[in-house]
């Protein structure tokens, strides 16, 4: 029993860290740069499917399934997501903010259609299976494997966290915040708002793609139903709850919101009879929507919001 709880906890934390990585990416885009990404599920799916198509064990039924090494899949996933974000950014970043929201939402819908319909590449609604799990021959029990993967995820998320903290303190990061606060002033100082926005958007999307690759190589298969639009809203709720503009808030939000989601799911499946499963699932989603709206209305800073930074030269 305790072993059961312990191994569930390890699995749960792995998923939280995957989601935390996505939330860190969104925080770079929204929290620090003010870019509205409504296509998180799409970028995550691009990363996941790129990895799956490149690394899955060869199968004559499919175009992909190239059986390439794990690390190639991970790097290619990041590159593919970056390319998609760059293309969509080129078209929309110069326009008003909510057009980026509409266009990125469109990307997510289109990617979902491709994953469902282009069966030769993506396996359609069946998805792709037999995606190699890294070092699964060394860690051959499920618990040992999950523990090793948890260590891997902690390392990756820690690296991403410190790298983000570092670059956000750098001149590049300061320009991002300057643009977010007052674009005209930043432009007057000779900074290209477009270029910095595009860079932040692409970098954030790369983290989402990385998360996608790490998710499929943890689970070992990929299907379109892991990338439904609800994922986008969950990640937003994570960032808004945790506190946008604060990377620790992003990670905390991922933990809190995913706990709410998992707990409400468990509760619903206990209390709601299987004949009303659709209604039970609806309650879970309504909860996420309420969390999002109530947080915006009552505590827009989030649990731990952005720290006010005052220049040490102020008052000189």
């Amino acid at each position: 029993m305790t072993i059961g709880i312990f191994s569930y906890l390890v699995f749960f934390l792995c998923i939280v860290l995957v989601l935390g990585l996505i939330t860190l990416g969104l925080n770079l885009q929204w929290g620090f740069t003010g870019l509205f990404n409504a296509g998180i599920a799409g970028f995550y799916a691009i990363g996941a499917y790129t990895h799956a198509i490149l690394t899955a064990a060869p199968n004559p039924l499919y175009l992909g399934n190239l059986g390439l090494p794990w690390i190639v899949g991970v790097l290619a996933a990041m590159a593919a997501t970056a390319l998609a974000a760059w293309l969509i950014g080129l078209v929309t970043i110069r326009l008003r903010g909510d057009y980026l929201a509409i266009a990125s939402f469109g990307i997510a819908v289109s990617i979902q259609l491709v994953t469902l319909n282009w069966e030769a590449l993506t396996g359609g609604s069946q998805g792709l299976t037999r995606i190699p799990k890294p070092l699964s021959s060394v860690f051959d029990t499920p618990l040992a494997y999950n523990l090793w993967y948890l260590a891997l995820m902690v390392t990756v998320v820690a690296l991403a966290y410190f790298a983000l903290e570092r670059i956000l303190r750098s001149p590049w990061g300061r320009v991002l915040r300057a643009i977010r606060e007052d674009e005209q002033a930043a432009v007057a100082l000779g900074k290209s708002a477009l270029r910095f926005r595009l860079e932040a958007f692409v970098l954030g999307a790369m983290l989402m793609g990385l998360a996608g690759a790490l998710y499929v190589s943890f689970i070992g298969f990929v299907s379109p139903f892991d990338f439904l639009p609800i994922l986008t809203f969950q990640v937003w709720a994570m960032l808004i709850v945790g506190g946008s503009g604060n990377n620790r808030g992003a990670l905390l939000g991922a933990l809190v919101v995913w706990s709410i989601w998992a707990a409400s799911g468990a509760l619903v499946s206990k209390l709601v009879p299987p004949s009303h499963a659709a209604q039970g699932a609806a309650i879970q989603v309504i909860l996420i929507g309420l969390v999002l709206v109530l947080m915006l209305l009552l505590r827009p800073r989030g649990l731990i919001g952005e720290r006010a930074v005052v220049s040490r030269h102020a008052g000189d």
């Binding site: 003010g34 509205f36 409504a38 078209v91 929309t92 326009l95 903010g97 909510d98 057009y99 929201a101 509409i102 266009a103 939402f105 469109g106 990307i107 819908v109 289109s110 259609l113 491709v114 469902l116 319909n117 609800i230 809203f233 937003w236 808004i240 659709a278 209604q279 699932a281 609806a282 309650i283 989603v285 309504i286 996420i288 929507g289 309420l290 999002l292 709206v293 915006l296 209305l297 827009p300």
Partner: protein, 298 residues
């Protein structure tokens, strides 16, 4: 083949246009993309279903599959959905607006509201498809190669009437003029003494009522399910932006273009990708003419 696709496109286009009018005016007057608007279509469709459940769809009138009751149901749904839109504004958007929230915070809230609205529909009515009426209809071949259901002609005619009425309202009534002034320039309209809150209220009620009609029409051809609005979301935005936001003719032409593009493209691409068509159209317009087809370049 192409003639049939054109007719089908005009029909879906008319429905999309009714939904897009509200999106377009919200984008222009309140300056935010209301992603919850598609859920007003769904709510309108289901509220009409409630009316039909009590009154029945009526005995088929002439070649139509329904009687006057369904028309009354559409009116009932339009009024209630208009009020629902206004209520959502009062509970969520007005508070954020008064608190000086960033327009993109409003978009976040809109997504949150959309999630709640859509899933309350699932909670009440479940996931199954539903029908207003089970009557079968004969399709008429009006032009060689174009088959049309009488219901579809009815929808098209009613949509045209509604748009004409709305055009007259916007052109000649004081409230209509105030709406257009707000759409042109909110600060300038405010200086001229236009009551901003009243205009915003009218915008919600009108947008909601039109969305309800679009929802009922979608449900009539041929079925309702909780995602009928959500599936049209991209089409609504594409139509609103294509024609240029804040303009009635813009939303109508945008709707027709999106509807026709969707249906004509089916001659070449698999129906699985149909939903991506409005998005591609939208990307093309944003790339070439982001202010929309009709708007003056600012």
């Amino acid at each position: 083949m192409i003639a049939q696709a054109l007719f089908d496109g005009i029909l879906t286009g008319a429905i999309i246009a009714l939904g897009a009018i509200g999106v377009s005016f919200t984008l222009q007057i309140m300056r935010f993309a209301n992603f919850a608007h598609s859920e007003l279509l769904t709510w309108g469709a289901y509220l009409a279903l409630v009316f039909v459940a009590f009154a029945g769809p009526g005995t088929p009138t002439g070649p139509l599959s329904f009687g006057w009751q369904l028309v009354a149901a559409a009116g009932f749904a339009a009024v209630l959905t208009g009020l629902l839109a206004w209520a959502v504004d009062a509970v969520v958007f007005r508070r954020l607006r008064k608190g000086g929230a960033h327009p993109l915070t409003m978009v976040f809230a809109a997504f949150g509201a959309a999630l709640v609205l859509r899933h309350v529909v699932v909670l009440i009515w479940g996931h199954e498809s539903r029908y207003y009426t089970r009557e079968l209809q004969m399709a008429y071949e009006i032009v060689p190669g174009v088959r049309v259901l009488p219901d579809q002609i009815f929808i098209l005619a009613l949509a045209v009437l509604v748009v004409i009425a709305l055009h007259l309202f916007l052109t000649y009534s004081r409230t209509g003029m105030a709406m257009r002034a707000m759409a042109e320039s909110p600060p300038l309209a405010q200086i001229c003494g236009i009551e901003v809150d009243a205009v915003i209220r009218t915008t919600w009620i009108l947008g909601g009522a039109l969305a309800a009609l679009a929802g009922v029409f979608t449900g009539l051809t041929p079925q309702l399910h909780p995602e009928i609005g959500f599936n049209l979301l991209l089409a609504l935005f594409a139509a609103a932006i294509l024609g240029g936001t804040g303009s009635l003719p813009g939303a109508v032409v945008g709707g027709l273009l999106v509807g026709i593009a969707e249906n004509v493209s089916l001659l070449w691409i698999s129906p699985g990708y149909k939903q991506a068509m409005p998005f591609l159209l939208l990307l093309a317009v944003l790339l070439v003419r982001p202010q929309g087809i009709f708007a003056e370049k600012k």
